[in-house]
């Protein structure tokens, strides 16, 4: 099957989110193809995080629909699901711009909590758990094994027993991704995963994201300001400004799109950069 004609995993149609008179998202339509990384970029306040909040059930969009083509459960309307169902039923899992770990719990516990629904079912209203039945013990061992697997792959295994809140920022970012992966997502929504990372760390993040898509067949939706990450890993980029989609295409196309450059640099500077002294040769928006 050719990926260009594949059914999109997620289709956002005419999504609008208003807060009072302000339209944080204005008539946004977007298709997210499966098995690819789709980047969402835009200046601060462009509505990127609001877009994520609409996808993951934290906000109810004013107008529009978000459809997920679930391979087993058919088409799911995400805008009608409460936030925990978005993660549980639709398997759309997100991370947060301001990291939201369970700071006093250990890294391992964070990853086990992510498998709550599976374990809770295995514990049969905690009865099997209290009695310590083998069925529950097996489920717990599997959950630990899965957590250990992700921790190993993300290079976090030696931090497993440390309280998550005690770890450095970059590590916490990775833990949040590992925790999201433990939910078995179909679609992973990452909200600025590279924020606060140093160049080496964001290089590692690039590798990780590419590996997740290649090895696990994950689909990733990525909000990011760090152009070295977005431009290098995204198959497809959507640019937002003032809640509207102003451009969409491959990273190359976006780097040369005059609208995009204007959105980032403002009219005058963009003109200077695009049509300046040297003429013709664009430097793109890489900072």
């Amino acid at each position: 099957m050719s990926s260009d004609v594949a059914v999109p995993l997620l289709s956002v149609e005419r999504l609008t989110m208003r807060f009072g008179g302000l339209a944080a998202i204005d008539d946004l339509s977007l298709d997210v193809p499966p098995g690819k990384i789709t980047g969402v970029i835009g200046p601060n306040g462009a509505g990127k995080t609001t877009f994520f909040n609409c996808l993951t059930g934290f906000y109810k969009p004013t107008v529009g629909s978000v459809r997920l083509n679930h391979p087993e459960r058919g088409v799911l309307r995400l805008e009608d699901l409460p936030s925990h169902q978005v993660a549980h039923t639709a398997q759309v899992v997100r991370t947060f711009q301001n990291i939201r770990l369970f700071p006093k719990m250990t890294v391992l516990e964070n990853l086990i909590v992510a498998q709550h629904n599976v374990l809770q079912k295995a514990s049969q209203f905690s009865l099997a758990g209290i009695l310590g039945l083998p069925s529950y013990r097996r489920a717990e061992a599997q959950a630990v094994a899965k957590a250990v697997d992700w921790l190993t792959r993300l290079g976090l295994i030696d931090k497993a027993d440390t309280a998550a809140g005690d770890l450095p920022y970059g590590t916490q970012r990775r833990i949040e991704i590992a925790r999201a992966l433990c939910v078995d997502p179909l679609l992973l929504c990452l909200d600025e995963p590279a924020a606060g990372l140093n160049p080496r760390e964001s290089g590692e993040l690039n590798e990780l994201l590419l590996r997740l898509v290649a090895d696990e067949g994950l689909t990733i939706l990525l909000i990011e300001h760090d152009m070295s990450v977005v431009m290098n890993v995204s198959n497809h980029i959507c640019v937002l400004n003032y809640g509207r989609k102003i451009a969409e295409g491959t990273p190359k196309q976006m780097q040369n799109d005059p609208n995009v450059i204007k959105a980032y640099l403002g009219e005058e500077e963009a003109d200077e950069l695009l049509y300046g002294e040297k003429g013709g040769e664009s430097t793109g928006v890489t900072p």
């Binding site: 807060f19 995080t49 934290f58 947060f96």
Partner: protein, 304 residues
């Protein structure tokens, strides 16, 4: 009809008192996000200061009621503000920036402490003072019932209205008001702008205590009796009023106070006096279920 009118008057009077106390809760909640559990007891302390004050003035032979009222009001407001300041300084400031529960526990401890301190130093018995403002205006008469506004009720409503106007001016127009509102929005940023946050918080506590002090003096005049337990009940009612009106909203606190006062007055005369507290709390629970931000509070968008 006549009874309803009378209950309206009684309810508004009671509501004004609750409203005055509720403002203290709402301001403190707005600025440091904690329930100042000892606030009701501050009000109780003020009522005791009023009793001492009135008795002392009577002993010196002061017979002019307006003069006595003004003097006692001023004295009670001053001393009670010091109590408000001390409560914050001793029990809450050391806990700023710790968990949400820690200041609540020390607040409960402070409430217990104040109650018992007053019980020990002032005696556990109910303190009656001779009636001061007697009489009133009969506004409506039927064969079996006379609707009357007592002078003390007029006093309470008038003082409350006056204070509300002064207070709104203070919060919206003065530099302290701006600092206070800035602290409510973002304490760190306010501090970075060079505003003394500690001082602003202290002043907020003192202002809240001053309003509670006025309520304490008024209640002493109105009912004529005071005991060390009045703070707890009035405190809970006033906090309920603050939540009902929308925590953080000053007009909301006043409105909430009036609603609670009216509910109590009408419920006790038409349904049953015993269950008036049940009615108050049930309505609170219902309001919170259907309008969690209170009547006048700004709806809160969950920050993700």
């Amino acid at each position: 009809m006549a009874l309803a009118l009378q209950q309206l008057i009684n309810g508004l009077t009671l509501g004004a008192v609750y409203g005055l106390i509720a403002i203290g809760y709402t301001m403190v909640y707005g600025i440091i996000g904690m329930i100042n559990f000892a606030h009701g007891d501050i009000y109780m302390v003020s009522a005791f200061i009023a009793v001492t004050g009135f008795t002392l003035l009577a002993a010196f032979g002061v017979s002019s009621v307006p003069f006595a009222l003004v003097v006692v009001l001023i004295v009670a407001v001053l001393f009670t503000s010091v109590y408000g300041w001390a409560v914050e300084r001793l029990a809450y400031r050391p806990l700023r920036g710790s968990t949400r529960l820690a200041p609540l526990i020390s607040a409960i401890g402070m409430s217990i402490f104040l109650q018992n301190m007053v019980q020990l130093t002032q005696g556990a018995r109910v303190k009656p003072i001779p009636p001061m403002l007697t009489g009133g205006i009969d506004i409506y008469e039927t064969a079996e019932f006379t609707v009357r506004i007592a002078y003390s009720q007029m006093l309470i409503v008038l003082v409350t209205v006056g204070l509300m106007i002064a207070f709104s001016w203070l919060i919206t127009r003065t530099s302290f008001g701006r600092q206070q509102r800035a602290c409510e929005q973002d304490r760190t940023m306010t501090a970075l702008l060079g505003i003394n946050v500690d001082r602003t918080i202290s002043l907020t506590f003192m202002l809240g205590a001053a309003l509670a002090a006025v309520a304490g003096v008024m209640v002493t005049v109105y009912y004529g009796v005071v005991d060390f337990y009045i703070g707890f009940v009035a405190g809970i009612k006033a906090f309920t009023a603050a939540v009902l009106g929308g925590v953080g909203s000053l007009p909301g606190a006043m409105l909430g106070g009036l609603i609670i006062g009216l509910i109590e007055a009408f419920w006790s005369s038409y349904l049953s006096a015993e269950y008036k507290d049940v009615a108050t709390f049930s309505i609170l629970i219902l309001v919170l279920m259907f309008r969690p931000s209170g009547l006048l509070g700004r709806p809160e968008v969950e920050k993700v």
